[in-house]
């Protein structure tokens, strides 16, 4: 999908890193097993995060096994198996990949995405039958998103709403919640996660969107008047950064209320360090640490 939700590897313990990789491989294998080997190419880090998070929220017992994999034939790798969170994340991965390709195809007729769509169609149809309610809501949100973008929505909060709601729907998967409270926490976490992804992606694409004349929420919110893109970026950095970091602080608050018995270290790493640094990188904020390093 976007691949913004990544752990900060140098700050991780080795066992956490291995476990994260085991989830990554677990999602990848689950896609292969459930939807066919070729679909494994759609794998993203974002859905791995989803698997780690929901696995922690559901309190399920996970098994780690060593397995050989066709993509890395030389060494056996740790893989999570028998986890419903991993299975769910792998399904979501396919559904999102399908919607993403559909969106690209709508933008302009690209032969690559059209043929990839054909390949994903069968698996997607099956998953749509499996999660009818989730898919209905997701499609509704995506329609709203397209409509708002067409209308050149002037508010970045409003423009980000459909995608935030979509992520909320994905994150709160009732069968994996241990209770109403957990679902409520996951909903708020997912909402803010979606908001962060949408706005961060918009800031990242500022230049291309302006060049191609595509919709960009920051352009409409802060009234871009044809100045240099870097200059515009400097003007809006503080305001955009405020919303992005505030969103992350809400993700952290929601996470602190979650009874995460496992994967705590990985999730803390991603939420408190990985996502923060990703945001700083894309905003182009230099940290004091980096200045010291370059001297």
């Amino acid at each position: 999908m976007f691949g913004y939700i990544v752990p900060e590897k140098p700050e991780m313990k080795i066992k956490e890193y291995e476990l994260f990789r085991a989830y990554y491989c677990g999602v990848c294998r689950a896609i292969g097993r459930r939807c066919g080997q070729l679909k494994r190419l759609t794998l993203s880090y974002d859905t791995t995060f989803l698997a780690v998070l929901l696995s922690a929220a559901s309190g399920e017992k996970v098994q780690v096994m060593k397995k050989r994999c066709a993509l890395h034939p030389l060494e056996k790798r740790h893989v999570i198996s028998g986890s419903s969170a991993v299975d769910y994340a792998s399904d979501i991965n396919i559904i999102l990949a399908y919607y993403n390709l559909e969106d690209k195809k709508r933008d302009k007729d690209s032969p690559v995405s059209a043929s990839a769509l054909v390949l994903l169609k069968g698996a997607f149809r099956r998953l749509r039958r499996k999660y009818p309610e989730k898919c209905r809501i997701m499609e509704q949100r995506l329609d709203e998103l397209v409509r708002l973008e067409k209308q050149q929505c002037p508010s970045m909060d409003m423009a980000a709403e459909p995608f935030a709601r979509l992520m909320e729907e994905i994150t709160a998967y009732e069968p994996l919640c241990t209770g109403k409270d957990t679902e409520k926490i996951l909903r708020w976490l997912g909402y803010n996660l979606g908001k962060w992804i949408y706005l961060l992606d918009a800031f990242d694409d500022l230049e291309t969107d302006i060049k191609r004349g595509n919709y960009n929420p920051f352009v409409c919110q802060f009234g871009y008047t044809g100045q240099d893109v870097d200059e515009f970026r400097n003007e809006i950095r503080e305001k955009a950064g405020f919303t992005l970091f505030y969103t992350l602080s809400e993700i952290a608050r929601a996470f602190e209320l979650l009874e995460a018995k496992i994967n705590r270290g990985i999730l803390e790493n991603i939420i408190y360090i990985g996502m923060l640094r990703k945001t700083e990188n894309i905003l182009g904020i230099r940290r004091c640490g980096e200045v010291e390093e370059s001297v």
Binding site: P10, M156, I185, K239, S249, E250, A252, G289
Partner: protein, 210 residues
């Protein structure tokens, strides 16, 4: 009751000092001020109550001497969850009570139907935006309320809370940048080379090959 050690996130048999330290940190983390204007505030309150209970229990049972003063610590953060001031018109008080009971949509409809828009209108609209997760709109509205009525403490503290929350995340303890402050290879070599030179000056040698 859950295992109090687990609630406080410490090992069993932890010392009084450790218990107090863990307790202080958790109270800070789940303090009602942290979760004001947040849809999860009720859950944070419950969590804090659980922490207080665990702390009270441990303080009563673990340390046998001189514990009477600590039971008072339970009052931490139990007040101020609904910190609305009672001033203002009936209309706005009604909107506030809807916000407090979590009925955000109704509160917003009421506000939107109102013609007059004093500072308080912008303030409440801002609070609703925070609850909805529309942080840019929230900041703009609360800022406007503060500009219209700079003397109002309530508006200003809401704005401060937003700024604090944003800063607290950015400077969170996990992101201390530990690995960045370690010396890199270049610095290490330089140190070795200098030490070697110094040793040689004194007539000895640290690295024999150079």
């Amino acid at each position: 009751m859950k295992n109090p050690y687990e609630v406080l996130g410490i090992r069993e048999g932890a010392s009084e000092e450790e218990i107090k330290k863990a307790y202080r940190e958790l109270v800070k983390k789940y303090h009602p001020d942290q979760y004001r204007d947040n849809p999860l505030s009720k859950l944070a309150e419950e969590k804090l109550a659980e922490i207080n209970e665990a702390y009270d229990y441990l303080m009563k049972n673990v340390s046998s001497g001189g514990n009477s003063q600590y039971s008072g610590g339970a009052s931490y953060g139990r007040s101020g969850a609904d910190g609305w001031s009672d001033s203002g018109s009936d209309f706005f008080n009604q909107v506030k009570s809807h916000i407090n009971s979590g009925n955000i949509r109704l509160a917003e409809e009421m506000l939107d139907s109102s013609r007059s828009r004093p500072a308080e209108w912008y303030y409440l609209k801002g609070i609703i935006f925070i609850r909805k997760g529309w942080y840019n709109e929230a900041y703009t509205h609360i800022q406007r309320a503060v500009n219209m009525d700079p003397a109002n403490y309530e508006y200003r503290s809401a704005l401060d809370r937003m700024n604090t929350s944003y800063n607290a995340y950015r400077t969170n303890p996990f992101n201390s940048g530990r690995y960045r402050s370690e010396p890199d290879l270049c610095t290490i070599c330089q140190c070795l080379w200098c030490s070697d030179c110094c040793c040689e000056c004194m007539g000895s040698d640290l690295i024999s090959c150079c």
